[in-house]
Amino acid sequence: MATQDTISASAINGSALSLRNRRIAKHIGIFLALIILWEIGSRIGWLDPLFYPRPSNILRSFWLIYVANANVWFHLYATMSLVLLGWILGSVLGIGLGALVGFNAVLRRFLKPYVIVLEATPRIAVAPLLIAALGFGVSSKLAIIMLVCFFAPFINTLSGVMNVDEDRLELFRSMRASKSQILRKLVLPDAIPVIMAGERLALTAALSGALVAEFIQRDKGIGSLILVYTRNLNMSSAFACIFTLTILGFLIFKGMEKLDHYIAYWKHEDGRERMSLKRRRKIGGHSDV
């Protein structure tokens, strides 16, 4: 009896696993089939290479920009160095001002209409203005990136700081906590998850801001590359660059997710487990303390 049960159990498990694998295989199969049809259509001449660059050409472009000419690395660095710098600076500014305004009711009331106006304006639209004012070059690019990624951290920090749970505040008051203690031990940790959410939005905005700046300045960076390739109707290389941004975007997505699980650990099951273990080891039992 026992052996029969174990056999059937493993058969079920086995088939569950292969169901998932079969699905993934189906997806990949359909995808490859589409690619192959696309390739064939392109070679026959049914598909306009402007709109449908040949897959084999796209692959060749990947090879060219990553290996043979290896020009993509320079431009990736040019873009990302500014994106990261601008993101950090813009976030610091956003979080700092958000906290300042969050704690000051008078300032909040005074600034409210300006925040509404700022929110309605597409901030990226200020790019030409900044480039004209600050000139072509790094400073205007950085200014655009900072402007674009300032807003989400600002609003999120503002909200996080203002929406502290009333019951928790009462608890702290009943323990005679000072204002500084309430800030450090309650408001700040409580706001962290919201701030992290804002940071993710800020980073994606920063990347978009950098691209727009590069479209206008056309000097270096992935955006400029895409522009130049498209102008020369080299669509396969343009697409190779766009897919590079897809990979980059995916890495950013996963990276921010990891960061969130690390910093706002208590909101995620795996973060909680990890921290539990870490704190247990640190403090241990009675004798260690």
Binding site: V117, P122, S208, I222, M235, I242
Partner: protein, 284 residues
């Protein structure tokens, strides 16, 4: 009786009183800026004087009235782009919520679309759709697609087990559950997605205008900037703000009316309307 809204005149006066301090402070700030520049404290040519900005506004909106055509064009680009993007997004989301295999096939492509910065497609879109409004609408549609798709899908797929159980116990079929439970329950999230989508559609339209265009506030602003006419550039930026506000509050209005059950004032109004309709029907 007590939950009827106050007469319009009362509300207007109340609004006026609340706005007044802000107007005064704004006037003071503008005044300080103007005086500082008049006295020569701020000399950078890159910072325009408020009076110059004011002059530009008058020129653009009144004397020469150049802004209106561009305003309307950008507004149209954003709205049409949004409508196209939203239609496709909602259709795909509805299909995905109804069919698991469909959702599984669509999801990887949606993820790819999400992580790729839509703005990166601008040169390609322009190469494909040309220099006219088409490329602006296309970019706006593409960029606004994902937030609407993901919000609608999440809204439709979320399950309130208690409510589902209620419907099933009443003998409701799948279509009825979809129409009478899932769709209304999804509306709040859908509208949240619409608001984001509308905002991003405007961004798409404007960015596409920067790249290459003849008409639109984006082009106007870009042109003024590179002519170093900062005053006119800022005046044009203000009109972009106006478009943004117009779009946002329109969507807020729709949200408030369609998802009426979230605000007390709207709930009361809807109650009154329905009781009137009931009474009228009973008399027949």
């Amino acid at each position: 009786m007590s939950d009827r809204p106050l007469p319009l005149s009362f509300r207007a006066i109340d609004l006026g009183i609340r706005i007044l301090p802000h107007l005064i402070i704004f006037a003071i700030l503008i005044g300080i800026w103007e005086v500082a520049m008049a006295m020569g404290l701020i000399t950078s040519i890159m910072i325009p004087r408020p009076s110059a900005i004011g002059g530009s506004i008058v020129e653009l909106y009144i004397t020469e009235g150049t802004i209106y055509r561009h305003f309307f064009i950008t507004l149209t680009e954003a709205v049409l782009g949004f409508l196209i993007g939203a239609s496709i997004a909602v259709s795909l989301a509805v299909c995905s919520s109804l069919s698991d295999p469909f959702r599984r096939y669509v999801t990887p492509y949606a993820i790819v679309l999400n992580v790729t910065p839509g703005i990166a497609l601008t040169p390609v879109i322009i190469a494909w759709f040309g220099y006219g409004m088409g490329s602006k609408i296309a970019l706006a549609a593409i960029i606004s697609f994902f937030p609407i798709f993901v919000n609608t899908l999440t809204g439709l797929v979320q399950v309130d087990e208690d409510r589902e159980e209620l419907f099933k116990s009443l003998g409701a079929g799948n279509t009825q559950i979809f129409r009478k439970l899932r769709v209304p329950a999804a509306l709040p999230l859908m509208f949240a997605g619409f608001k984001i989508g509308l905002t991003t559609a405007l961004i798409g339209a404007v960015v596409a205008e920067f790249a290459q265009a003849t008409d639109g506030v984006g082009v106007l602003m870009s042109r003024f900037s590179f002519q170093l006419n900062m005053a006119a550039s800022l005046a044009t930026l203000l009109s972009m703000t106006l478009i943004g506000l117009l779009l946002f509050y329109s969507m807020e209005f729709l949200d408030d009316r369609i998802v009426f059950w979230r605000r007390e004032g709207r709930r009361a109004a809807a109650s009154r309307a329905r009781s009137k309709a009931w009474a009228a029907q009973a008399r027949k």
